[in-house]
Amino acid sequence: MAKITAHDLAKKQKEISVAEFFERNKHILGFGNQTRALITSVKEGVDNGLDACEEANILPDIYVEIKNHEDSECRLIIEDNGPGVVKKQIPHIFGRLLYGSRFHAIRQSRGQQGIGISAVVLYGQLTTGKHAKITSKVESDRPAVVANLVIDTNKNRAEVTGKDTVHWEKPTGTRIEVSIVADFKRGKKYVYEYLQSTSIVNPHAQITYKEPDGTVHLFERTSEVLPRKAIEIKPHPHGVELGTLIKLAKHTKARQLNSFLKSEFSSMGDRTTNAVIDKAGIEKTINPKTMTREEFLAIHKAFKKVKIMSPSTECLSPIGETLIKRSLKNETHEISPEFIITASRPPSVYSGNPFQIEVGLVYGGNLPKEEPVKIMRFANRVPLLYQQGGCVTTSAISSIDWRRYGLTQPSGKGVPTGPAIFLIHVSSTLIPFTSESKEAIADVEEIENDIKLAFRECARKVQHHIHKKVRRAKTREKFDLITRILPEIAKKSANMLDKPVPILDPIITKIMDIVWIEDIIEYEKVSREPVQTTLIGNNPEGQKSGGTITKSRIMVVNYKRDPQKFNLYAIIPKDAVVGTINPKPSKITSNFIKWNLDAIPPANKIDVIFELAGLEQGDFDENDLYIENINPTFVIGADKWEGE
């Protein structure tokens, strides 16, 4: 056999285009089989649309349609009302892999690598030979552009084959139509679940979904407020690789090491910078561009040895407990759960990357009692549907003993069984996924601990809730007895003896022997003062006028034999403004209202009323009530006031 030289080999060595690479490795990006391909395509399209809208400060209105004329081929249509894409950029955004604006930014965002939507276009072309059609409108008074895209997989470039303009009612927006080989029959359930889950963590978005048979699902918007924009931050010294450090030094405008460190990294003040340079044993005025690899290594090592403040968490955009609760309530409406509880952790950091954990728990109602709890996992507002078993969220849940909280869990380990849904949202500038297909979050200790802490807090709230409920139910039973059964017994015994019916009041207080506190919450829609506009009829859509007044009526009944006099506290929920209060409170702070109630005679009741504004209907469905100057065991419906 002839000897093969390096020159012979060189003839065969050539660049592999990214697109070609994808073609051969599509399973890594979530296109492994026909079911997965469908869901990944929907996901990339929807993510893209949501991102576009949020960046342009538009409340997202996403339309998803799947047509399924042939068994194995779907036509997928995804529309948003975002800012649109300028003509020239269409082939880059939709037809070129690894092209995007978010890859270099350190802040929370859905996609990062710029593979997403172009991978869908490429997958469609590879599997069906049909070209994707993009419609984009960037200005409300201009027509929309329609482009057919062909990707050249060798060059990682797309060409526009047909271009046209059409009329489109939307002021601005983007529409992508792509044919893909996919299994709708199998994927149907997952697509629905994916969109429903997406709607839960994106309460500001409205998603309309049309299935091939014409069924339309509407996932309604439950918040009119766009999420806080995540602010881009500089890399944190604890999260930076040596190579990145060297690269940053090459491109910096700073001429001295100390100003380089201060300007290119977050959390680096004068004192920290000097401490790092001291530890590294390098001159602080050295020009970073002339530094050697060894010197960089010394700096990199010094980063780990010096205490550096955590990075700013403004780069994160958590959903917020109120909104999580509201959208869970909206989506689980048919289940009519007993309660929904949320908890969130303060922002934290792993390897220099900020992250934050939020969790929610839906309990009871029509949820199946014999099945493992449903776990809904989200990373940066994107649902994670696969590889639940290999995800840090699952291992965190499994390590908590749920038996104390009314769920079954053999040997106190593993995913518990019971009528519950667990929701976890991890937001981070860099979600540590286990693989490129972004389906599971890696086992990072800091993240796992925070998830555990959040769920423990939730569990404690659940326990408190159940305890309260049981006590209340027991007392309610007594009420039942007093109001219905006791009079019957009295009547029957009197009739049998032909005597007048005896008086019941003294017996009632004797049996109850408590003070009963119960609140009723009502919501009243009110119109706000009309907004002053200069142009009549130019009131932009989506700006709804009016709001909700939350009215709480607290009923306090004395079923004890003596008059009762005590103080009552009601906690004011976050974001709420207090309106009318009756009777006059003795104290109001930003957190609570306090009443010094008059003495209530036996078998008498008083009503305490207060109104709250600034909340949506259903945000607030139970008052936190506390009492003071009375034995708390006498009282049902309020806990002991422990001070502010």
């Binding site: 017994i489 029957k492 049998m496 005597k499 005896p502 003294p506 017996i507 004797k510």
Partner: protein
């Protein structure tokens, strides 16, 4: 036969209503007390020679929801009984359960509940179910033997029935009411009564003519005997001075059948003196018989063993005979049936086993 006077019953029922009414008037939480109806609370009554409820009482108080429901139901049931007495009707326990459907809040969730409450009411008022014009679903069992009964028929005529000559092989059927207003026991020249647990053994003795050959009255118990069967045995034994021999399977449940006949049942301990026949004797099959007669057996189940152990702590089974037999049975771990005697042929029970046992017990001479 006498027409029954119910004024005493009405008086007792009204006392229950009055107790509740007075509680309301005196601002006490309404309540009723009744003896605790469990194994732990039965005591031997030396005067009556039977087991009765002891001093422990259970309070039914309106303090709890369950208690309040019980009181309301008690009121409804008392009123219903009063009404039946007034219009001279009676009803079955099942009929009363269906009638309670119309009692609104006081309705029962199962007939078991209403049956138990009827018993409670007997206990509280020291009346009998018959006083309340309530009757059970099932009839009493069957009787064959040289015995003449006089029964008041539904046409209000008296009819004499001879329990061999006037009946078929199924025997005379004991009515639910065996009180003097319904039946009188006339003549008999039988020497003893054998109460038999299973229908198969009763029929075997009938087919083999044991009643005639040994001058016996055969009573079929039909498992756990109904009140009327026990009352019938009691009256027959007492009025005609006849010994009673109980012939059952050899297992713990059969011993309880014997106990209900001889000592009184836990559930009906308030009326033990009406129902129990203290002089009854257990004939067999005993655990010793299993060994002596080498009978075919089954292994005791876990439930059987638990029942036997429970009987060792039952105050009614504390004599040396029962302690010995029960301990023996636990030791051998076996049980047997009456009909296992067929191992030695169909006539073995009447020709050999019963005569041997009866003479052993001194009922007949060898």
């Amino acid at each position: 036969m006498v027409k029954k006077d119910y004024s005493n019953v009405i008086e007792k029922i009204d006392l229950v209503a009055a107790k509740i009414y007075d509680d309301f008037q005196q601002t006490h939480i309404p309540s009723l007390n009744l003896p605790t109806r469990t194994k732990a609370n039965i005591k031997f009554d030396d005067n009556l020679n039977v087991w009765k409820y002891g001093a422990n009482t259970t309070e039914r108080s309106a303090k709890s929801l369950d208690g309040a429901y019980m009181l309301l139901r008690t009121m409804y049931m008392a009123d219903f009984i009063k009404e039946m007495i007034k219009i001279n009707k009676s009803s079955t326990l099942r009929e009363m359960y269906y009638i309670s459907e119309g009692w609104d809040l006081a309705k029962f969730h199962s007939q078991q509940e209403s049956n138990l409450l009827a018993e409670d009411l007997e206990v509280i008022t020291s009346c009998m179910r018959e006083d309340f014009k309530l009757r059970p679903e099932e009839d009493g069992a069957r009787v064959i033997g040289n015995l003449t009964i006089e029964e008041m028929t539904r046409n209000n005529t008296k009819k004499k029935i001879h329990c061999q000559d006037d009946v078929g092989d199924a025997g005379y059927s004991i009515p639910y009411n065996v009180e003097p207003e319904k039946i009188n026991i006339k003549g008999t020249d039988a020497d003893f009564i054998i109460a038999i647990e299973t229908g198969g053994m009763f029929d075997r003795l009938v087919e083999n003519g044991f009643d005639a050959s040994h001058n016996a009255i055969l009573v079929h118990l039909k498992g756990q005997p109904a009140r009327s069967t026990r009352r019938f045995i009691k009256r027959l034994s007492a009025e005609k001075n006849l010994p009673v021999l109980v012939f059952t399977d050899c297992d713990p449940w059969s011993y309880r059948i014997f106990a209900s006949i001889a000592y009184g049942a836990i559930k009906t301990a308030h009326i033990s003196e009406y129902l129990a026949t203290p002089s009854s004797q257990y004939l067999g099959v005993t655990p010793s018989d299993i060994e002596n007669y080498n009978l075919p057996t089954d292994t005791l189940t876990k439930e059987d063993i638990n029942a036997l152990k429970s009987e060792l702590t039952d105050p009614r089974f504390q004599d040396s005979f029962w302690k010995g037999e029960i301990k023996l049975q636990i030791k051998i771990g076996k049980k047997s049936e009456q009909q296992a005697l067929a191992k030695y042929g169909l006539d073995y029970v009447t020709d050999t086993y019963l005569p041997e046992k009866l003479s052993e017990m001194g009922i007949t001479k060898k």
